[in-house]
């Protein structure tokens, strides 16, 4: 257990001066890696990238989960679900490499831009799809069969049953899936790094085309710039790590609370 304390403690110990400094003097709008360590644009862009990717993954993943759980034959389900779960583990560096050569050109051709938030959305959505499908499928299948039988006994079609009976029951499970996907997307590094730019000072805009930056890529692109490992940059990086860690911690706590509420129900 000491290990966990060691890691978390070290990050907190190294990162807290920067965070305190941010809270006292404002988070700043400009990052040059030497004396200005403004992270507001990056934090904004982190949320924007995370939210967009999760929306895409949800829009495709949850209907897929419904199809697998409610409409498909068990043969199809037994084929698709394990393969999706296995594919979930495609290393992110490979996904990033693929994304650079296949998603970025397509985005570039159709929307302009190329390296940027839009490419990151797509690659992150593909990466978190298996997550969303697998967890929400479990949640949908956990709805007792008697509910479905009762609904269909009243003359409802399968779709009406799925929409009016199963979905409200499985709602909290699906929400858990979405939050977990968000946590994994926020923590994703390599694939985003390879397709998003990075640009340390992204404009605060809703246009998803220009190169941007998220907290993880900010860390990744700056590790090793500070050779001595003791300077201001290092401190700022640990500050960024601490913020990211807290964000994901909050998400995980929310997930745990949701699960507990569902169990007690």
């Amino acid at each position: 257990m000491g290990i966990v304390f060691l890691v978390v403690g070290y990050i907190a110990w190294q990162g807290y001066p920067a965070v305190v400094n941010w809270f006292l003097n404002g988070f700043g709008m400009f990052w040059d890696g030497e004396s200005n360590f403004g992270v507001i644009p990056t934090i904004f862009s982190t949320f924007y990238v995370g939210a967009g990717a999760v929306v895409i993954a949800t829009a495709i993943g949850i209907p897929t989960a419904f199809y697998l759980a409610e409409f498909s034959s068990s043969k199809i389900r037994n084929l698709i679900k394990p393969s999706l779960e296995t594919l979930a583990g495609i290393p992110s560096v490979v996904m990033g490499y693929f994304g650079y050569f296949y998603i970025v050109p397509i985005v570039f051709a159709y929307f302009g831009g190329g390296l940027g938030v839009l490419s990151a959305w797509i690659i992150l959505a593909i990466m978190s799809l298996p997550f969303v499908v697998s967890i929400s499928e479990d949640a949908i299948r956990a709805v007792p069969n008697s509910y479905r039988e009762a609904s269909q006994g009243l003359g409802a079609t399968r779709w009406q049953t799925a929409w009016h009976v199963v979905l409200p029951e499985a709602k909290s499970g699906i929400l858990t899936a979405i939050l977990l996907a968000l946590a994994s997307v926020l923590g994703e590094t390599m694939a985003v790094w390879m397709v998003i730019g990075p640009n340390f000072n992204p404009a605060i805009t809703l246009d998803p085309r220009p190169p941007s930056n998220v907290l993880t890529t900010l860390i990744a692109a700056n590790v090793g710039q500070d050779a001595a490992g003791v300077g201001a940059l290092n401190e700022a990086l640990y500050g960024v790590a601490l913020i990211l860690f807290m964000l994901i911690g909050i998400l995980n706590i929310a997930v745990t609370a949701l699960a507990r509420r569902r169990l007690s129900k």
Binding site: M1, I3, V4, V7, V8, Y10, A59, I60, P63, T64, F66, F71, L84, T86, L87, G89, I90, P91, S92, V93, V94, M95, Y97, F98, Y100, F101, Y102, P105, I106, F108, A109, Y110, F111, G112, I126, L129, P130, V133, T157, R158, W159, Q160, L186, G187, T189, M190, M194, T216, I219, V223, G224, G229, V230, A241, L244, F245, I248, G249, N252, T256
Partner: protein, 451 residues
């Protein structure tokens, strides 16, 4: 011929005219899209030049991107034909798909999409078809109500489409990596050393072709790193799992411990990389990237999974086994060693293998804490001072060199293929480990169920 005419006439009689017309319009859109795809593919394949010179106004300079676009045209043609048919059959799905395509192609042609003329034509035709379909549908609803069944079928279709997209995306990724990587993979490629730099393109291509260079050290380095990481995490994980499930009382301390394990699971890998990069160098004076430091950080990463899976499989051991062991007079330690661990072994082994797979594919930790550009064989490495070669690090290095100061659509095709081959090897090892884990689990589950 006559019978065809007859069936056509009955079809026209049983279906409303505006719907058939709408369906025809949408099918024409599909035809346009498909024929554009064919033209593009033919022009690229026969002349070997990109479609930009053939049809004009294309920002592509890459033949592959052109082929992809023609594939995309075919892919859009299929749902368009489907929508046309559905419209004629008075399904809502047809209207929805046609509407989406109408709006979508309008937006994309405004966005400065490639072929404004084609895009605008398709969007106008689609929107007219949608409106006609809607009008026809209103008439239908007034006359007869078949809504629930139609709704059922349409929604089922939409759900199935989503499923196809989801599975299709992932299989597309795998297919691309496999197709582009497989030419370079050979026995030499996975065993020979890598003495060249990525900036020397001809050396790489020739070397791989004649089997002189390969990624042997990288594979060996990755395996060694993950093996060391398992050596660190297995005792820790197993010990914690046994303690948590067998010894620990249900009190505040256990809860805190569990909470911290969850927290550790939530640390993004790049933070562990940052930690490994500075902590060991700063506090112990090791190199910034080292074998032991990387292995320790990777062990932190997979530890929570190991603990969780091991704990679960220990808990699943039936209480009868334990009771029988105690009844035979064994002590608690003996019970744990000879009964519980034996019965929980397959689950624990599955967890270890899954952890190994996760560690093997992890790049962010490895890149910062273990090494990226080294080229030494494992026998030449030292524990705390050398930058060790790893497969994810190699792929990332390839990526950086191949994309440096180059336009998005350019870059050497064959060098890219070599890096795809590395990715293929990485995925292959990862999948092999994962499948082995699943097989172990299934095998023992069956055995347990059988006895």
């Amino acid at each position: 011929m006559n019978s065809y005419l007859k069936s056509l006439r009955t079809y026209l009689k049983t279906h409303e005219r505006e719907k058939i017309f709408a369906g025809l319009l949408i099918c024409i859109c599909g035809g346009l899209s498909a024929s554009y795809g064919i033209l593009l593919a033919v022009s690229v394949v026969t002349s070997g030049i990109s479609g930009s010179s053939f049809l004009g106004a294309l920002p592509f300079t890459d033949i592959v991107a052109d082929l992809l676009l023609s594939l995309l045209c075919f892919a859009t043609a299929v749902p368009l034909f489907l929508a046309g048919y559905l419209l004629a059959e008075s399904h809502y799905g047809g209207i929805v798909i046609a509407g989406i395509f109408g709006i979508g192609s309008f937006i994309t042609s405004i966005f400065g999409i490639t072929i404004p003329a084609l895009g605008l034509t398709i969007s106008v035709l689609c929107l007219i078809g949608t409106l006609l379909g809607l009008w026809g549908q209103r008439k239908t609803i007034r006359t007869k109500t078949r809504a629930p069944v139609i709704e059922e079928n349409v929604m089922k279709l939409c759900l199935r489409l989503c499923g196809l997209i989801a599975v299709g995306c992932l299989f597309f990724v795998i297919a691309v990596i496999f197709i582009r990587g497989m030419y370079s993979v050979s026995w030499d490629f996975v065993t020979k050393p890598w003495p060249v730099s990525w900036s020397d393109a001809t050396a790489i291509i020739e070397g791989v072709k004649s089997g002189i260079i390969g990624i042997g050290p990288q594979i060996a380095g990755s395996l060694l790193l993950c093996g060391l990481c398992e050596l660190i995490s297995i005792p820790l994980g197993l010990g914690s799992a046994i303690y948590l499930s067998e010894y620990a009382p249900q009190n505040l301390l256990t809860k805190v411990i569990r909470f911290f394990i969850e927290t550790l699971a939530g640390i993004p890998s790049v933070i562990l990389g940052l930690f490994g990069f500075t902590f060991f160098a700063h506090e112990f004076g090791w190199a910034q990237r080292s074998l032991l430091g990387g292995a320790i950080c990777l062990a932190f990463m997979i530890l929570p999974w190991n603990i969780r899976i091991a704990e679960e499989s220990i808990k699943r051991v039936s209480a009868d086994f334990k009771a029988a062991a105690y009844a035979l007079g064994s002590t608690k330690l003996q019970t744990i060693r000879h009964v519980i661990l034996a019965a929980a072994a397959p689950g624990i082994l599955t967890g270890i293998l899954l952890g190994f797979g996760a560690a093997f594919g992890e790049a962010a930790v490895v890149l910062f804490a273990a090494g990226n550009e080294g080229a030494l064989w494992p026998s030449q490495l030292t524990l705390t001072s050398s930058d060790i070669p790893t497969l994810p690090g190699w792929i990332y290095g390839a990526f950086r060199h191949l994309t440096q100061s180059q336009d998005v659509t350019q870059g050497g095709w064959r060098e890219q293929n070599v890096a795809f081959a590395g990715s293929l090897v990485l995925i292959f090892i990862f999948l092999a480990v994962t499948v082995a884990a699943l097989l172990v689990r299934n095998h023992f589950n069956k055995k347990l169920a059988g006895t």
